[in-house]
Structure formats: structure tokens, C-alpha cells
């Protein structure tokens, strides 16, 4: 069955088509969009397949596990693939007009597809070294995307972004080397089986810590997040939206995968650590966001703060906690990308991201303010939007598991998130424009339809997730149940 390889092959083929048509710039967005639509359709199809048939496994080259590279799609992977597909489609549509001609003719769309290939590869692989390779594919594409255009501030941000991510990859690689030295296998299912029989936890922690540092840097978790706000605001906003939606979440995905599947022996050490790290990430991210005045910087700090909730779900380590983390991740990927896309629209109208320079948008663009309200209040957790239920599930899971401190911290952080979103609302939409400034560049222009469609699309998903909590939560519960019972995964891969 070739199905599990398709999420990797479709972007690859799209890249090839894009490169063949390198000279025809006007075709590029449409080829990219077709690839993205195919990915979304495939991801939905795969999710249905996983639901009806159980975990999908492909032994590449017919090398039986644990010897070859195994591709595995379980419920959690399939959810992540659908989310990646949604973001791919939205950003591809948005980029048609949002990305300038110059960038479009210099491999913007092939690089977006390359990034998606890496992200999809990381979600489907069942082999830790292969995961490293997909991380590199994803990172290399993101390096090019963040530097594309070569503006001074982009290069400045890129130096930090590239160097810290390389260091994190090397930590990851060192962890793989040590783990292989101890267990003699790279296959995740085989590792899970061998480690469940091993009795020496202390030695395992030496590599577990290396993986933890590597994934924490990728996920921008406290105290490893400083590269994110230093670089994410520099590229064009469509690229930032893509990064914000997917890149850090791949780190969280890997962390959840590793620490539910095979690093489960030393619960006493890891779970309190996750709770601490999650709590600190939330608080510090949200507090630093409060002092910013650039919309993109505020949103970047909020990425960090919200990663904390997902880590908190992992630290609670009950079915409800993990399901909460998955639900929250789904909500966050959609809403976060959307807020960045709306920030792009604001910039299109006003020509600025600086809250001190803009104002009065509610008066001239009432519809834009509604488009902003949905994802922003979704992030802040106002019912009936998706963020409210994400936080509700996590916090009630925390109370049920007896983790009171982190649950109260999560509640308080929600309040501060609301503060930041209201700040953007007040400054950009509500307050009158500061006097003595020239009129907006795009005041009388209509916003391009291709930039509005993805915002509406993602906004509708945020609303739907809020109104259809029960079925989505059931999917997340199912995925969490699978994650917390590694035997299902081991059996699907190793077959015994």
C-alpha cells in the first residue's frame, strides 16, 4: 500500500512541475495551489482511512521493520496532515497577490512545497533518523524562505534563525547517535518495544534530554525561544503565517510522539518538568507580548505562549490532557496562521505593522475588523470560538489530574492573551488615527480577493471548531487514546 508515502510524493511532484515551469511566473501560483489542494484532499482521505482501517503502515522498499524506513500514519499523524493541508491551501491562495513578483519568480512556490514536504514527512515517518532528515528538508526550505528577497532585516533575522536551528539539529543528531548506541535500532515502534523492556532508565535519560533540548528549540519553548521573536517578523507576512502555523508545531508533534511512545519510563522526572516548562513558556511569552507595539511581534510572542498549553497537555499525561493538547494544537494552527494573514491585510490597507502609526480601521474597514475578531478572540479563548474549548479541555484535564497550579496559571494566561488581543483591537481598529500622519496608502483600494478568501476560510474553520466541539473532541480523544497505548502502534508496525 503506497498511501502513506503520498503526503511526501505530492509536494515532491509539485516541486518538479514548478521547476519545469520556472520561466512561466504566472503559472507558478496555480501549480502550487493545485499541489496544496491535492494534499488537503489526500489528507482528508487518509484521515478517513485511518478511522476505518486503523493505523496505515508502509515498509519502504519492502524492507521489513525494524530494518527499513517505515512510514506510519496513526490518528494523531492524520490530524496533523489535515491541518498542514489546510494551511498549505490558505497560504498558497494568499500568496498569489501577497507575495511580490520578484519573490514569486525566484522559487517562492517550490520552497513552500519543499517546506510542506518536510512537514508532511515528519508527520508520517516512523523512524527517528528519517525524522531528522525531514527536519532538515523543512529547515532548509524555511532558510531559503526567510532570506528570500535579501532585505537587510531579513538577513539579520535569518542569521539567528539559521544558526540556532542548526545547533538544535545537531543536538537531535547526537541524541539519535546515543540512542542507537544503546538500543541498536532507529525504528520508533522497535524502540518503544525495546525501551519498555529495558530497566535502566537513567541511561535512557541522557539521550532523552538531548531530544528534549532539540525539540524545545524547534518548538520555541522556554528557555529556548529567543530566536523566534528575533526572526519571525522579518519575512513577508505570508511566509511568517506559514512558519507560525506549521514549524513550531512540528517540534511539539515530535515531542508528543517521543514522550508518549518510548520515553515513558521515567514519569517522575519528565512530567513535572513538562508542567514547569509549559507554565513558564505560557507566562513569559504572554508577558513579553504585552510590551510590544509591532503587530507581528505581539503575535510572535503569542506563538510561544500558546506552545506552553500544548506542553502542559503533555505534562498532564492523561487521555483528556493529550486530547486537549491535540485539540489546542488544531485550534492554534488555524487561528494563529489566520491572525498573521489578517495582519497582512491590515498592512495592505495601512502600509504599516506599527500600532502607534495606525488606527481607526473599524471606521474605514468594518469587515476587516470582524475578520480580525474571529481568530484573535479565538486565541484569547472567548466562547463559542475554538480556543475557549481548547483551554476548557486542558484546564479541566489539569484539575481532574490534580495539577492545580498549572491549571490556574493557564487560566491567568488566558486573561493576558485577551489583553494583548484587545490591545491590537483598540490600537488598530478602535482608537482614532494619530493626527498629523499622511493618509493610508491603500485606503481607497479594494483588498485583493485572493487575500481575503483564506482569511474567511480559516475564520469559518475556527467558528466551526467552536460549534462542532463534540465530534472534533472525539477524534482528538481517539488519537490521544492511541498515543497513550503504545502497544497499538507497535503491533501495527511490527505485526506481532
Amino acid at each position: 500500500m503506497i498511501l502513506p508515502a503520498l503526503p511526501i510524493l505530492i509536494p515532491l511532484l509539485t516541486i518538479i512541475f514548478l521547476l519545469f515551469n520556472f520561466q512561466r511566473r504566472e503559472w507558478q501560483p496555480w501549480i502550487g495551489l493545485t499541489g496544496a489542494l491535492l494534499q488537503l484532499a489526500l489528507a482528508i482521505f487518509l484521515a478517513v482511512q485511518v478511522k476505518t482501517q486503523g493505523i496505515l503502515v508502509l515498509h519502504t522498499g519492502n524492507w521489513e521493520a525494524p530494518f527499513g524506513i517505515t512510514l506510519v500514519i496513526d490518528a494523531f499523524s492524520s490530524i496533523m496532515l489535515v491541518l498542514a493541508g489546510i494551511i498549505a491551501v490558505s497560504v498558497s491562495i494568499y500568496s498569489i497577490d501577497a507575495i511580490d513578483r520578484q519573490r514569486q519568480s525566484f522559487f517562492f512556490f517550490p520552497m513552500v512545497q519543499g517546506l510542506l514536504m518536510g512537514v508532511n514527512g515528519a508527520f508520517v515517518t516512523g523512524d527517528i533518523f528519517n525524522l531528522y532528515v525531514w527536519f532538515e528538508v523543512m529547515l532548509t526550505a524555511s532558510f531559503v524562505l526567510i532570506t528570500l528577497g535579501g532585505e537587510k532585516k531579513q538577513l539579520n533575522g535569518a542569521i539567528k534563525y539559521v544558526s540556532i536551528n542548526l545547533v538544535s539539529s545537531l543536538f537531535f543528531l547526537a541524541g539519535i547517535g546515543l540512542l542507537y548506541g544503546k538500543t541498536g535500532t532507529l525504528n520508533m515502534a522497535d524502540l518503544a518495544m525495546k525501551l519498555s523492556l529495558a530497566d535502566n532508565n537513567v541511561l535512557m535519560n541522557t539521550s532523552a534530554v538531548l531530544f528534549f533540548v532539540a525539540f524545545s528549540i524547534k518548538a520555541a519553548v522556554f528557555p529556548f525561544f529567543f530566536w523566534l521573536p528575533a526572526s519571525y517578523h522579518t519575512p513577508p507576512v505570508a511566509i511568517t503565517a506559514l512558519f507560525a502555523g506549521l514549524l513550531t508545531k512540528v517540534g511539539v508533534y515530535s515531542m508528543i510522539r517521543f514522550y508518549t511512545l518510548f520515553f515513558v519510563q521515567d514519569k517522575l522526572f519528565w512530567h513535572p518538568l513538562f508542567l514547569w516548562i509549559g507554565g513558564l513558556t505560557m507566562v513569559i511569552g504572554v508577558l513579553t507580548a504585552a510590551s510590544q507595539y509591532d503587530i507581528r511581534k505581539i503575535l510572535s510572542f503569542h506563538i510561544i505562549s500558546q506552545i506552553g498549553y500544548m506542553i502542559m497537555g503533555l505534562g498532564i499525561f492523561t487521555v483528556a490532557g493529550i486530547a486537549g493538547a491535540i485539540f489546542f494544537m488544531a485550534h492554534n494552527i488555524i487561528a494563529k496562521t489566520n491572525t498573521f494573514l489578517v495582519a497582512g491585510l491590515i498592512n495592505r490597507v495601512t502600509g504599516s505593522y506599527d500600532l502607534k502609526q495606525i488606527g481607526g480601521l473599524y471606521k474605514i474597514r468594518p469587515w476587516l475588523s470582524i475578520l480580525f475578531i474571529i481568530p484573535a478572540f479565538g486565541l484569547a479563548g472567548i466562547p463559542p470560538l475554538s480556543g475557549f474549548f481548547g483551554k476548557l479541555i486542558l484546564i479541566s484535564a489539569g484539575f481532574n489530574a490534580g495539577e492545580y497550579v498549572i491549571s490556574f496559571v493557564a487560566l491567568a494566561v488566558g486573561l493576558f492573551t485577551l489583553f494583548s488581543m484587545v490591545k491590537i483591537w483598540n490600537e488598530a481598529f478602535w482608537k482614532p488615527r494619530p493626527e498629523g500622519l499622511p493618509p493610508y496608502e491603500g485606503e481607497n483600494e479594494n483588498l485583493p480577493v485572493s487575500m481575503v478568501i483564506p482569511v474567511v476560510f480559516l475564520g469559518l474553520i475556527t467558528l466551526t471548531m467552536g460549534f462542532a466541539v463534540k465530534p472534533i473532541l472525539e477524534i482528538a480523544m481517539n488519537a490521544a487514546g492511541q498515543l497513550l497505548d503504545p502497544k497499538i502502534y507497535i503491533q501495527a508496525v511490527l505485526g506481532s
Partner: protein, 116 residues
């Protein structure tokens, strides 16, 4: 042999960290290269060192030796070297472009422009 390599790895990591903490981007890149070589050697040692026990029988040998060397770590290192090479090339190009755009390769001199 393991002890010697362990010391070499340690020295490479130490040199790598020292260079990473410099302000000059050239030294930063050199630091990352040291880091990546140290990591490659670490995988090599972690995979186990057995002298003269090839995994695949060569001329004159009919059977594989009893406790052969595991070839997989070397395959992993090869992959890691290739990836590291590509990334280093990219980083060098990025540094060159950065130098062209700013006229400096000292990260501290850019502090003022950072928040724009």
C-alpha cells in the same frame, strides 16, 4: 581507541561552543562545523568500534566474522555529512550576502537596526 575518540569529541564540542559564542559570523559558522563533526564522531563511537571485523565478507573470507561491526552508524554519518555540507554552503552564502548588505560581519554592530 574509544577513550581517545571521546577526548577528541569533547575537544571538538568545546571548540565549537567557544566559537559559537563569538560575535563574528565566520567564527559562528566554524563553530557549527566543529559541532557537526563532533556529532558525527559521536555517532561513530556510539555505534561501537570493532577492529578488523567487516560486516560484509571480502576476498578470501567466506563468512562474516562472529561479532561484526555495525555498518549503519557509518551510513547515518554519511547522510549527516552530506546534509551538513549543504547547510554550511548555504550559511556561507548567507554570510556573504549579509556582508554585502551591511558591510560588517560583526553581529553586535547591527544592534540599532535590529528592531525595525
Amino acid at each position: 581507541m574509544e577513550v581517545l575518540l571521546a577526548i577528541v569529541i569533547g575537544l571538538l564540542y568545546a571548540a565549537g561552543v567557544y566559537l559559537l559564542l563569538r560575535r563574528s559570523i565566520v567564527k559562528l559558522i566554524l563553530g557549527i562545523m566543529f559541532f557537526s563533526h563532533a556529532t558525527n564522531l559521536l555517532i561513530f563511537v556510539a555505534g561501537g568500534l570493532h577492529k578488523g571485523k567487516p560486516q560484509f565478507a571480502s576476498d578470501g573470507l567466506t563468512a562474516v566474522s562472529a561479532n561484526p561491526t555495525d555498518p549503519l552508524p557509518q551510513a547515518l554519518i554519511l547522510t549527516a555529512i552530506v546534509i551538513g555540507f549543504g547547510i554550511t554552503a548555504f550559511f556561507l552564502a548567507l554570510m556573504y550576502r549579509f556582508y554585502q548588505a551591511t558591510g560588517t560581519e560583526d553581529l553586535d554592530e547591527l544592534k540599532e537596526g535590529e528592531n525595525k
